[in-house]
Symmetry: none
């Protein structure tokens, strides 16, 4: 199955929005065995959309379009599609009723712009969008399929996962391709590649190992193609087991798992609870932990002690420590972790204090320096690392590092 992606919207051409949708679709399609041949981005004009459609349809089986389905005047994709296919626009009652209901829940009245959103090209099969007002559309055109989705990332993703991919699988049954994704944390891409060098060299030709690094985490994707799906599964499982044996507890999960969900499972298995005391991460670590559904079963809460007064008054860090050692120090994070467990009586408390940047660094304490402490009330361990200069990346990297400290603490590997 050869796919072209066509994104519609001036905001991409003028660089106001980075086209993450195409990357997401490319990755998702690739995992399901389809090949993206071409990505084309065009502006919000009739000529550009016609042109882009023709270009995207050339030599492909499927065109996935995003963008231009909103209720405003610059959203003309639907009209262009109707004209391109030579059909009328017809009112789609079901969509109208769905939008009316959505608005009722929000306590709002539907307006004219949204009523106009319910007119659809007559040849469209409607794909219900449970994440927003504009539905997706499926068109069959000669031997090709054209699919139109909203450009809002989570609406597109919902439609892809729930409507588009299952239909494409029916429409174009192909050669089985399968994947295993192995999730690691704590070492870099090149260290892991070194551990797997001979494994990679020994892979059969129709197998491939890809490394996807991101801020202290590396995702490994083993892909195989074969003629028999169950044989393919068996070989993939065997090869995956080799990786598991090699990498050991660098691995925190598989597939779509997350580090925060892995920690949640470890805590629940052990009947333990968690709290955080954060300075430079400013709530990011707590946010990651609480992004997991059901995290209220093991996460009690946090003290975000951005100001030194909060470190002293809520966490009980002695003022002398802050004066002599500074807020970013081994002694401060030790007191923060221990004080946290007195304020919030969790089984395990983790503390973070560092310099996220861009300001606030010095020769002895540069931007990117961070101290962390972890305590179970009996023993407290402390660690420091040094990251880069970018504030946003530092906050994220510190968060991942802290999550991994919690994980290793729970595994008895700290």
């Amino acid at each position: 199955m050869k796919v072209a992606i066509l994104t519609v919207g001036d905001e991409i051409l003028i660089g106001q929005v980075v086209d993450t949708n195409s990357a997401w679709m490319g990755k998702t399609l690739n995992l399901s065995g389809a090949r993206v041949e071409r990505i084309v981005s065009v502006g919000d004009t009739r000529e550009a959309i016609f042109d882009g459609l023709k270009e995207a349809l050339r030599g492909t089986d499927v065109v996935l379009m995003t963008g231009g389905l909103g209720p405003t005047k610059d959203d003309i994709t639907k009209k262009c599609l109707a004209e391109f296919f030579g059909v009328e626009m017809v009112f789609h009652q079901e969509t109208y009723e769905r939008i009316v209901k959505m608005f009722e829940v929000w306590g709002r009245l539907i307006n004219e712009a949204h009523r106009l959103q319910c007119f659809m090209p007559a040849n469209a099969e409607i794909l219900t969008n449970r994440m927003g007002t504009a539905p997706g559309m499926w068109f069959e055109y000669r031997n090709q399929v054209v699919i139109s989705m909203p450009g809002v990332p989570y609406e597109m993703q919902y439609l892809m996962d729930n409507e588009v991919l299952p239909r494409l699988k029916n429409h174009f049954p192909g050669q089985p391709i399968a994947h295993r994704t192995i999730l690691t944390v704590g070492e870099g891409e090149s260290q892991i590649a070194e551990k797997l060098e001979d494994f990679e060299d020994s892979l059969p030709e129709n197998f491939k190992l890809a490394y996807l690094p991101n801020l202290g985490q590396v995702r490994l994707r083993l892909t195989g193609a074969g003629s028999d799906a169950s044989e393919l599964d068996k070989v993939l499982d065997e090869r995956t087991q080799v990786i598991i044996n090699r990498l050991g507890d660098l691995i925190y999960g598989y597939g779509e798992d997350t580090l925060e969900a892995a920690i949640g499972r470890l805590l629940q298995e052990r009947g333990l609870t968690l709290a955080t005391a954060e300075s430079c991460t400013g709530g990011y670590l707590a946010h990651r932990i609480t992004s997991v559904p059901g995290s209220s079963n093991y996460f009690l809460g946090s003290v975000i002690s951005y100001a030194n007064e909060v470190k002293m008054q809520v966490l009980g860090v002695p003022s002398e420590i802050l004066e002599t050692e500074g807020a970013v120090s081994e002694a401060t994070v030790r007191h923060m972790a221990e004080g946290l467990l007195r304020t919030i009586p969790a089984s395990i408390g983790i503390s973070i204090s560092g310099i996220a940047g861009p300001g606030g660094g010095s020769d002895t304490k540069p931007v990117g320096l961070v101290w962390m402490g972890i305590s179970d009330g009996k023993t407290t361990k402390t660690f420091s690392i040094r990251a880069g200069k970018d504030r946003e990346k530092n906050i994220q990297y510190f968060g991942v590092h802290a999550l991994n400290l919690i994980r290793r603490f729970l595994l008895g590997k700290l």
Copy 2:
């Protein structure tokens, strides 16, 4: 000047890399008055590159290519360009000497792969790359210009700023295009469009208004083209002023501003400090606030009271309230906000308690329901809204709503 961007590389098609280069080029070109007509991404094969080139050249003045210039086997852009233009590859001595010198500085010896990098299509004008080994190339072809640059973002950016843009300006002195971006929060795309309907209809033909909605925020972009840059600026400012008058305090900023940075400015202007008490947002609000450099000037900290014990013991919410009214209630968020200011003595405290989902909802308190309280220690105001069913979206939406409450509180508009 009409431009097409052509990016070469399988990593973009399979979504392993997000195409930030095109966004950067789009923004940069746009600011210098050029119009990107089309972005095309293709894979690392001869057929795909030829195909992409033809497509990119159709109806444009300039094609900006990135990618495929490295020293490895899958980097074939240069060879394809030579074939496309019907010229030989010739050795470029200056480039060779430059690379040898670079390697000397790094204490490394040049290898064969890098020597091969010095062969260039005979018709290329070489653009010196001071950031890496592969130079850029400038080709003139019929009335069009084709420029090839490495895909490494900072190398491409160096070449664009120092070589490509100055040359393009000489080559195509053109018509100015300019933008104004207006950032709003608190109403949806269609409500704002209703307020601006006649304004949009009255815009001159070379002006355009675009809406970019995202979770409670809508970004408006007004674009104009004209023959005279200062006249265009004047008209854009006048039209922008009309939008400002219509939308009033729905507007929180302009251009690349953020809601959290806007709140930071308001707090600093007034010499006020802020703290948060978060239940269902789990630190997301604090994370947004502390993502702003310098936020330690006005943000004191947070109590993330995920568990009821923390609501009682750290924030002083009476246990009777939690028992009779529940954790998600007007009374609870009132006590949380007031208790927060006793624990962390900020000027303003905001509290949030809701049901992010997917579990935990009931008939009377469904998933998506949230209560918020805001207090300055004298008066406390409370609000509730209802969002959707997706946990991640809910947390983000609640965060944006809370940021807007803080903003309106500071503006005296609550």
